[in-house]
Symmetry: C2
Subunit: 403 residues, 2 copies
């Protein structure tokens, strides 16, 4: 086992965290040899040897001493170029870019095989919680039924401020950005795409199946209103942004990201602030709950460090489940029960509910509660982004027995 | 990767669970080739091919086709003979016997190296929660500060029944045994030894240091009284049986198992019934909480299955941390704050408190709250088992900043 010599791409919030964490972890036998940044002269809080910095990727990719690329740039296209460039040269990579990974995972898996190298990305999903590694290594059996959780620390922080501290939505968002929880493009967090990308990655390691992001219903929290919040409170529930992949039969699974009414008896009810929480449900072990910091510089960096140290021992994801016989297939032919706040009756008539169990009309706001096919939600997803509309899932027995 | 052909030792609650789980997990490519039991003719609920059964260990140990021994016998001495017998022949072993492993771990590690084989025992600690694997593989860095949790499902079940359901202690114990949570010798669970053995194993994988069981202060729940329970309730706390290993300085750590007053803000407060919960605290990631079923046939069997599947990929614990430079050393020179219910003033005068902050005397019961060295608790551990005595830890800031 040699020293890991790291070429680091990116010196933003996470990159600076990595620089600090690697410095502290004396038994890691890892050192950062070069750091590639867009702008060398940008003022930084971090005191750093200027000789470490470069703006030329080749100073890392062509350095024969560097045996690991760690990539934490914010831009998904740059991330794709860096990661594929390194893999093509046989250099192992640790990446935290969920958007890039979720979009390109089949190709990235193929490249790892072709160039006999490794791409690790545990930090991409749930920050410091080792979800990917455990799904890949520990829940590697036929018993897995469901992975469900709060995967985005930023939107969860905002909902916590709004729900528990009566804060205004815009104030909460600003505060999240100030604390460094929110991505530079907040819509990424708030519209559910960050959770979606993590869910895509989780599903590959949970069930061995890749589903492209655009095939998955994704609905965020940006249109939540005081009315929705009051309604949830009256029912003694919280609204959380929940991502889930669920086996609905032996040979079929479904997945989606949307706000959900969560009752106090559920594990994820108490996942507040910037924390993430994931429930892994299986046939014999029932429910496992993993909980930890999902966002922020140092928690993410400590997860990157775990991947770096795994490389010292030659660890790579084997994607074993993808080779399983009888892989389940993705379906959207699933009936959900949802809460829909709607602007007017004309809007409502365009939404093909299978049945409506509750309807409330008032001058302030109107909502229905009813059953609808997930495929119909997908077909109408543009319409559901109209002003005055908010959708939330109501967990039901056939999908989530008693989670 | 070949099919794993298992020689199973033991067909009790866990052994039968393994038989069922292996049958269900079609992608595991594992089969049970032979099962060694003490009494072949014992009536069993399980319908099983009698040709699988043997009462001769050599039918497994000398079978060249068997490439994995799974050992779940109840008796620690038999477990030691089976595990060392297999390792000496170079056969990898999966074991769930925490008492045996905790007592013999240094020798078992040495044997794995000498005979170039593997012993996996994730099922030995916290049933279905992958604590050992994550400490070994994921929290493999210098950042770890503390592992603390409820490691024994049976005593936790009993405390939950007593605390939340006003049940009588003896009734709760009987119920736990009936449900198969309690070991055949209940004192193992209730006096804290089961938690202790798990803590010994966890400490090896958390900090790379082995501490012999008899060096660790271990105090159980068998002497808890209605007075203690009422007292905790008045303070809006629960009493839980908690095991913990904590770094108290860069170069020192301490560990102990004892009842603890737990306030509602702590993660482990809501770990009820037969569940286990473990908090892993580190420098950068703060707190990770893992929660799941710690006892019972199928949860334990699913954890055994994870170890079996890990063997398909040649996985073994590397015990990397044991080779670290500057390993921290175990200390009992640590001041704790405890609650002590005592029978009379003569007893109290024998206990060398450094200071007493609270004293209550009544005809029903008397207690003090005060500071005492852990080494003094150890020196007086026999005395503390006298009738009318109960000890519980009060977590303090210098040990557990704000856990």
């Amino acid at each position: 086992m040699n020293t890991i010599k790291i070429g680091l791409f990116g010196l933003g919030v996470v990159g600076q965290g990595i620089y600090r964490v690697i410095g502290r972890a004396t038994n890691a036998h890892a050192e950062i040899k070069r750091i590639c940044v867009r702008n060398i002269d940008k003022p930084r809080d971090l005191v750093i040897d200027p000789a470490l910095l470069t703006d030329n990727a080749d100073d890392i990719l062509l350095d024969p001493e560097i045996n690991l690329v760690v990539e934490v740039v914010d831009d998904a296209e740059a991330s794709y170029r860096i990661v594929t460039g390194a893999l093509r040269r046989g250099i192992p990579v640790v990446s935290g870019n969920k958007a890039m990974i979720a979009r390109h995972l089949p190709e990235l898996i193929e490249m790892q095989r072709r160039y006999d190298t490794a791409l690790l990305y545990d930090a991409s999903s749930c920050g410091s919680i080792p979800v990917i590694r455990n799904l890949e290594e520990y829940y590697d059996n036929d018993l897995l039924l469901e992975v469900k959780g709060i995967l985005n620390g930023s939107s969860n922080y905002i909902l916590s401020r709004v729900f528990d501290h009566d804060e205004d939505y815009a104030d909460a968002l600003r505060r999240a950005q100030k604390l460094g929880f929110a991505e530079s493009d907040p819509s990424f967090d708030i519209e559910g795409y960050d959770s979606l990308f993590k869910l895509i990655i989780i599903t590959v390691h949970a069930l061995g199946v890749y589903v492209a992001p655009e095939q998955v219903f994704t609905y965020g929290i940006s249109s939540i209103s005081d009315f929705d919040i009051r309604y949830a409170r009256e029912k003694r529930m919280k609204i959380k942004l929940v991502a889930q992949v669920v086996k609905v039969a032996d040979d079929r699974f479904t997945m989606f990201v949307m706000p959900e009414f969560v009752s106090p008896s559920k594990y994820i009810y108490s996942v507040d602030d910037e924390y993430n929480g994931v429930v892994i449900r299986g046939e014999c072990y029932d429910r496992q709950f993993m909980f930890g910091k999902g966002a922020g510089s140092l928690p993410t960096a400590s997860s990157i460090l775990s991947d770096v140290m795994a490389r010292r021992h030659g660890y790579r994801y084997e994607y074993k489940k993808m080779d399983y016989l009888n892989l389940p297939s993705y379906t959207t032919d699933v009936m959900l029960k949802i809460y829909l706040r709607y602007p007017d009756e004309q809007f409502l008539s365009a939404i093909p509910f299978a049945s409506v169990s509750e309807k409330f009309v008032s001058g302030t706001a109107s909502y229905v509660m009813g059953e609808i096919l997930l495929s119909d939600l997908i077909a109408h997803r543009e319409l559901l982004r109209a002003p005055g509309v908010f959708v939330a899932n109501i967990p039901r027995f056939f999908l989530n027995l008693d989670d």
